[in-house]
Structures are given as C-alpha cells and as structure tokens.
C-alpha cells in the first residue's frame, strides 16, 4: 500500500450491470474504494467484467444499479455531456492498442487533453515538454507515430494520460501489445508518473507481473472484488 491512507477519491457501491435479461449480470453488487493517491490493479479471467467495470467508472457505460462517486461527484447521475466533461478534466486513459493519432506529432498527441481544456499555448508547450521529458521522449516532440516503436507509442499514451494532471488514470491492459522487457519499463513509468502526478490509478490486467507494479491488487470474480495477497 502506498503512503498514508487518505479519504477515498473513488467510491463504488453496489454496482451491477447486466447486458441481456436472459443472462446473468456481468457485474453484481461491486463495492470499491480508492484513495486519492492509490494505484490499484484489478485482475480477473477473460469475460469476468474488468473492462465493463472500467467503462462504468469512466462514465462510458451506465450501471443497472449502484453508484460511482469521483471526488464526491456521482458519475451515474451525469448525462453524456457531464460525464464527458468530467473525463476531460479528471481522468486519463491508457489503452492496450495505444490509440495515438497517426496524423499528429508526438507533441500534438500529448497536448490533446490540454487543447480540449483550452490551456494557453505557452503553458501547454511547457507541460508537454515536461511530460515528454518525464516519459523519456524529450527528443521526440516533432516525430510522427509511424516513426515510433510500440514501447515508445505507449510512453506517448502515458504522457497524454497525465499531461492535464487528472485525478484518476485508467489503464486497460497497457502492456498487452509489448514485449516483457518493454512492458516492465512501461509499467514502472506508469506507476512512477501516476504517483508523481499525485493522482490515483486503476490498472486492468491479466498479468500477475503487471499487477505487482500496483500498490494493491484485487481480483474480480463472480462474487465481486476480492483482495489478493501481495506476492513477492
């Protein structure tokens, strides 16, 4: 566990989601609490609902029951626009497939959240440069994604997820497309930057190795979120 326990940033209570009436719910009665500076890993078998949980937390999907509060704001009560604006200000995302826009330079990709928030050009440039420095891509600002390796692309994605200093970073299998060595570097970087940013993070992964990079690990099962003991 990282640092001293603070008040919860994210509080999930009784969360349920069912896609089809004739099928059992994907999620049922999920409770979760995440501290403001905590980095949590959630593991689970395929199809157990990890990504569904992440989507619900991001406000990209609506639960059938339960509440999700981010810094006291009930995400489930927000409409699409409210949830989108909340994501814009408070959240950052890292995806398995990187999703770096091919037609923007590295710097432009990283600056995207700042553009959306209307940050002034000077401050934007400074924060992008700082972020690129932090993820080890200081000389890459003017390059295009096609010139980058998979590991470098994921670093760009990490920089983009943190440049606007979100309260919560959601990472869905961020190392699924990377070799073990690069994956380890990316995981370390993600953890380091989330902590450096002073925010919280949730890492969705299949990999025990990846989960080890988090402060705490929970397993998502048919019975809900179950704590996993820390492994050496």
């Amino acid at each position: 566990m990282h640092g001293t326990r603070q008040r919860a940033l994210l509080e999930v209570e009784g969360l349920s989601r069912r896609y089809r009436e004739d099928r059992p719910p994907v999620l049922a009665g999920i409770d979760l609490s995440l501290a403001a500076d905590e980095y949590l890993a959630i593991m689970g078998e395929s199809g157990v609902g990890k990504s569904t949980l992440l989507n619900l937390i991001a406000g990209l999907d609506r639960p059938d029951a339960g509440t999700i509060r981010l810094d006291g704001v009930d995400i489930t009560a927000l409409d699409d626009e409210g949830a989108t604006l909340l994501r814009r200000r408070q959240m950052g995302f890292v995806f398995q497939a990187f999703h770096v826009l091919p037609y923007l330079t590295v710097a432009q990709n990283v600056a995207l959240p700042l553009d959306l928030l209307g940050v002034a050009a000077q401050e934007r440039a400074a924060r992008v440069a700082q972020m690129l420095e932090a993820v080890g891509l200081a000389g890459f600002a003017a390059r295009h994604p096609r010139e980058l390796s998979g590991g470098e692309l994921q670093r760009v994605a990490i920089a983009r997820s943190l440049v606007h200093r979100p309260r919560l970073v959601l990472a869905d299998e961020p190392t699924g497309n990377l070799d073990p060595r690069t994956a380890a570097q990316v995981l370390a970087l993600l953890r380091e930057q989330i902590h450096a940013n002073g925010g919280a993070g949730i890492l969705i992964t299949h990999s025990v190795t990846a989960a080890r990079s988090a402060d705490r690990t929970l397993a998502l099962t048919a019975h809900g979120l179950v704590p996993l003991p820390a492994t050496p």
Partner: protein
Amino acid sequence: MTPARTWARLLFAQWRESRARIAVTVLALALGTAMASAIHLVNRSALDEFEQAARRLAGEADLVVRGSPPGFPEALFAGVARLDGVAIASPVLELTVDGLTVVGLDPFRAAGVQPALFGELAGNLRDFFEPDGIFLSAAAAGQRQLRTGDRMDVLAGTTTRQLRVLGLLDANAYPRPLGVMDIAAAQWQFDRLGLLTRIDVRLEEGASTATVRAAIEALLPAGVVVMTPAIDSQRVASATRAYRTNLGMLALVAVLTGAFLVLTAQALSVLRRRGSLALLRALGVTRRELGRLLVAEGVVVGAIGAAIGVGLGQVIAYWTLRALAGDLGAGQLAVPGGTLAAKPLTWLIFIVTGALVAGLAAWLPAREAAARPPALALKSGDVDAGPAAARPFRVAFALIAAGAGLAFMPSVYGLPLFGYASIAALLFGGVLLVPSVAQGLLRAAPATRAAPLSLAVAQLRGAPAQASLGLAAIIVSFSLMVAMAIMVHSFRESFIDWLDTVLPADMQLRLQQGGNTAALGEREQAVIARQDGVSRAEFRRVVPLLLRPEAAPVTLIAADIDAHTAAQRLAILHAAPLPAGGETAPPVWVSEAMTDLYGVQAGAPLALPLAGREAVFRVAGVYREYGRSGGAVVIPRATYVAATGDRAVNEASLWLARGADPAAVARDLRAALALGDALQLRTTTEVRERSLANFDRAFIVTYALEAIAVLIGLLGVGVTAAATAFARRAEFGMLRHVGLLRRELALMLAGEGLLMSAIGVVFALALGGVLSLVLVYVVNRQSFLWSIDLAIPRLQLALLALALICAAAITTVVSGRAALGGDAVRAVREDW
C-alpha cells in the same frame, strides 16, 4: 472448391459488411449507364426512323437528283430519263407543308422505283389522280385526327387549300407524318407548276453508277446535285451528329464520374481491408490472384450497376419518346409516335462497358493492394497508403501538356474528337494534382484554438490521400459542370448580343413556310411600307441553296444591306478590306459555318447557283449566325433581284412610328394583307423571348445530365466519408474517452468535410475554368461551327459552389454519423 473460388468467397463475403458502399457504387454506375444508354437509345431510335423513312421513300433508286426546295425545271427529268443506263427516272415534288412532308409522285414511274409504296396505292389508283386527293400515313392522320374521306386544310404559299384524305398508308412502313399525292396535283395545289425537287433514278442492269452519275451531272444546272440514296438518307444524321455526340459525351461524364466513384470506393475499401487482404497474402494468395480478385470485384459491381442502368435507361428512353417525341433539345430529331425497339446487343454492350470501366477503375487500387508487402500492411498505423499517395507529378504534368496540345488540333469528320481528348487529359492530369494541391492549401490553413477544428485540419494534413480520393469524383463532376455552365452562359450571352444585332427593328414579319413557296409580292410590300404606324420596312428574301450533295442546304438571305450598313445589321467577325480598284464582284457576307464547311474566306470569291446559273461574288466579311447552322450567305437584295428576277420577299423588319401601338399595327396589317395564318407578326421583344426560351429548352437535357454527374460526385463524397469514418471509429472512440463531446466530434467531421469540399470546389472551379476554354473555343466551335465569347456566370458559380460545399459537408457528417453513434468503448478495443 478451387483455391480461387475460396479466395473469391472470402472476398465477396465481405460485401455483407459493406452493403451501403456497394449499394451506392452500384447506384452511381446505374445512374450514369441509365443516362448514357437512354440517350443512345432515343437518338438511335429517332435516326432509325428518319433513315427508314428516307430509304422507303427512295425505294430501289440507285441515284437521286436533288435541288434546293424551290425546285428545278421539270425539263431536266426528260433529259435524265433519256440517258443511257437509266432504266427508270421517277419525278418527285417533295414539300414541307405545315410540318407534313408531302411527296408528289408519278405512280406509274414510282412503281418501278418504290414498288412497296406503289403496292400500298395500287388498290386506289383511280382515286390517286384526284386533283385534291392525298394519302396520309397513320402518324399524319393521327396528328390531325383525320380519317379516310375527311377534308384537311393546308397552307399553299399564302393561301389555304383543302385536300381530301383518300386513304391511309401502312403505319409500320411509314411511321412518320407523310402525305402522298399525284405529282401533277401537288404541283397545281402548291403553285409549283413545272417544278420538281427530286428525280429518283433506277439504273439498267449492268450500268455503271459512276458513268451514269457523270452523265447526269453534265445535265444539271447550278444548285442541283446528284447523290446516292445512302448519302441522302444520312443527311439528317450528319446535320445532328455534333449535337448528338455532345449529348453522348455528357452522358459519358456521368459514367466517368461513376467510374471515379468505383475507384474511390474500391481504394478506400482496400485501405479498410488491408489487414484481411494482407492475411490472404500471408495465407498463400499470390499477388496476381489478389489483384485479379479485386478487379473481379469491381467488374461484378460494374456489371450489376450497368445492368440496372440499362433497364432504367430503357424506361427513360421509352418515356422520352412518349413525352418529348424523342427530341433531346436539337429540335431536328423529334419523332412523333416513335417506337423503342428492344436491342439486346446494345444492352450487352452497355453492360460489358460498365463492367470494364468499373474493372479498370478497380485495377489501380487492386495493383496497389497486391504490391503492398503483407508484413507492412498487417502492421498497425499503415493508414494513409493509397493510389494518391504516390503523387505522380510527371504523369499529371504530361497529361496537362498533352491536353493543352490536343486543344489545338482540328476536328475529325466534323467532330471535336481531339477537343474531347484534350478535356479528358486535362481532367485526369488535374485530378492527379489534387493531393499535392490539397496539402499545399491545408498547410496554409490558419491555426485555430478550437480543438475539434484544429484536429480536423491536422487529420486532413496527415491523411491527404484518403481525403483526396474522396474528392476525385466530386472534382471530376463539378469541374465539368463549371465548364459546361461557363460554356452555356457564354453561348447565351453571345446569343443575346447576336439577337440585339439582328433584331434592331420593333416588329418582325415572316411568312409561314407553306410548301416553301410563300412570298410577298411587290403589291404586298407596298401595302406594308405604307401601313399607318410603320415608319420604315426592310424586306428580306430567304431561300435555301443546295451547294453540296452531302450537306444541308445553305440559307441565302437577300437583304437591304451594303458595305456601309453591314456592320449594323450583321455581327461581323472578319471584314475584308475593299480591293484597291473598288468592288470587282458584288459583295456577300458569309456565316462562320461557311468558312468551315465550304472553306470560304473573307476577301475570297464565292460562286453561288442563282436561278440555275452560277454567279461569282466577293466575300466582304464573315459574320456570326446562330439561327442557321448549315451556313448562310447574305447578299444585297438588289444584286439578288438582278441575278434572279425574283422580287418577292418572305421576311421583313418593321420600325414603328413614334407612339404606334404594335398590336394595332399587327391587326391592321393582317386585315390589309389578308394572308390568314400564313402571316407571322411578332414584336421584337416577343421574338427575343421565344428565342431565349427555345435556347434554354435546348439545354434542359444538358443541365439534367450535369446534375446527375454532380449527384454521383456527392455519392462519392458520402462513400468516402462513410468509409473513412468507419475506419476511424477507434480514433473517435479514443477522442470520446479523453473528453471530446459528441457534438465536438460532429463539428470535427463537419470541419473536415467543409474544408475538403471547399478545397475540392475551389480546385474544381479552377479546373472547370480551364476546361471551359476548350469547350468554348474548341468543342463548341468545331461542333456547331459558330464562335462564342467567353463569359463567366460569377453569381451562378458562386451559389453552386456554396451549395455544393454545404451539401458535401452535410453528406460527410451524415455519412460519419454511424461511426459517431457507434460504441466508443468497443471501438478502442479493436486494433487499428
């Protein structure tokens, strides 16, 4: 199952995923083919009717002697009939009376030349000699609602005569409006005693056509020619060939735009499926097999589209023949009651052509896809690779240079074939430059703080090939539309200027052509000149002159004109200075068509057959003439009267006295002349309005074809937008994750659509401007044998451009909505 069939099944199975793309491509090709096949079928049907009618009337004649419509002395018939090698000579008087072709025949002589027609009349031969009897074709009887035994009024010269319907001709054999009379009765009824217009000649067995023809030529007075029936029946086809070819070319534009849409759709589809295509290559499909399969895909789409188009074209052609009598605007090809024959071979040719065009359009992206290394294509981020990515400058500039060179080539058999080739080369060259021009313009796009718009600009800058592909179809169709709009506007403005020059008076008087004999004698001319309210009258004698067997008659206009007043009465283009020693020969002025058809130049001598004798004149100038496409010669009336002794006139321009009421003057003139319906009196304003209305009606089909081409172009924009939006679902999903609102995404798409369509429209305006120069100065000049002055319809083009930009932007957003409304969450989980 053979491997090829397996791969084909795999490829075509993907059609289920692209129903909209396939449907739009098929629709575009169907529309293009429908227009092209309908125009072909209507024109072919009309020409077949004309040729069939001409052949039936010529019967088994080997040679036809023909003179200008006023006719030639019938003494010539006796000379021709006596010649060695002539088996039968049949005298004919052919007249056009109130839109009805009346043929006067000697039935006993016609029996040997037109046995089929004689067979029709044989049962009523005794009645045939009735001085007021006429046999009508079913079409003529139907038009006038007449039955056997009924009486009909016809205009003979300036008087109305009554004829009796003796019987009806076989509707299948004579589908056009036609009347057949005894030649003596026709000569008497239509004041043409002693005159013939045609002699049909059948040769003796073994006689040489060339020898007999030469012998006949030796007998002919000036203005009478001898020709084979084939040339005679082809004359209508020749006279309208340029107009029909231009319409055909316009219809091909629709097919061409459809082909560009196939190229666009196929190229985008290949981009979208690059992963699965690479997988096929990885699984063992050879480059050649993959290329063939993709071309086959285009061929199948093309064949389906063309087959639907041919069916649709048959319906349109049927409707055109029923509703418009097959007249597509030229006015000369109307076929009342024309029928549409089923032509399976024509259908097959259109379907095969559609399939080949689509296959050819699919070939370029197929070649690119087959050549792409599978490893590269399987890699993520291989987004903007396509045919346009190569930016073939050299090919583009070579095509543009070739296009410029071709524009200076002469016509081929009266058709501007090199002009069309020039337009095609300039068009393709221009389209190849689109990606580079688009990139240049995008680089100059101003920076914006609005994230959706800056993303739109960045996307277009980053993926110019895809965007340019989408623009190809719209650029092709819109640039041609711009070129056509400029050409039509230039023509219209020049036409208005010409009307102003040739219609200086307040009223125009004209005699209806009653058997081509209508004329006003000196007494009537004096009545007109002295009429209260008329301050001045200028009279004209307008007669046709046949100068060449294969050409339409030239119009001879004897007018009150001389070297000093010519510039006020005619739109003079080139005037020849007077010879140093004064006039050597009487002056005449010729229309531009005369310079092209007969090689006449300003300052050169010109021989004209007047009253059976050849007279030589000096061409004092070349003038612009939009009323008579077969060529016209203006001669001072005094010279004409001196040469022919013909003092009659059939047209006049009247200047009214100050304060005179045109309606009252017209009423008084009608009463004084007592010519009934034969007299046509209109104010100049009315003539002008009617002329412009006719002008505009002639271009309705042109505008319809242009609109269809632009519609196909817009479909191309839609296909591209839908395909690219689908390919960018993951990008949209990521943007939704990082906080872009739905409406901001829509704004981004609209911005992209607006920017690209604006670039496309601006480019098309420039390209269309260049193409219009070829249309105005080459295609128009070589097709219609008259010049026009360039005039740009600025407001019309600006409104069109604005409408198209908005339509394209809306199309982009509507087409992209499916991707916007899609599951952003799922999209980011798909690899791209």
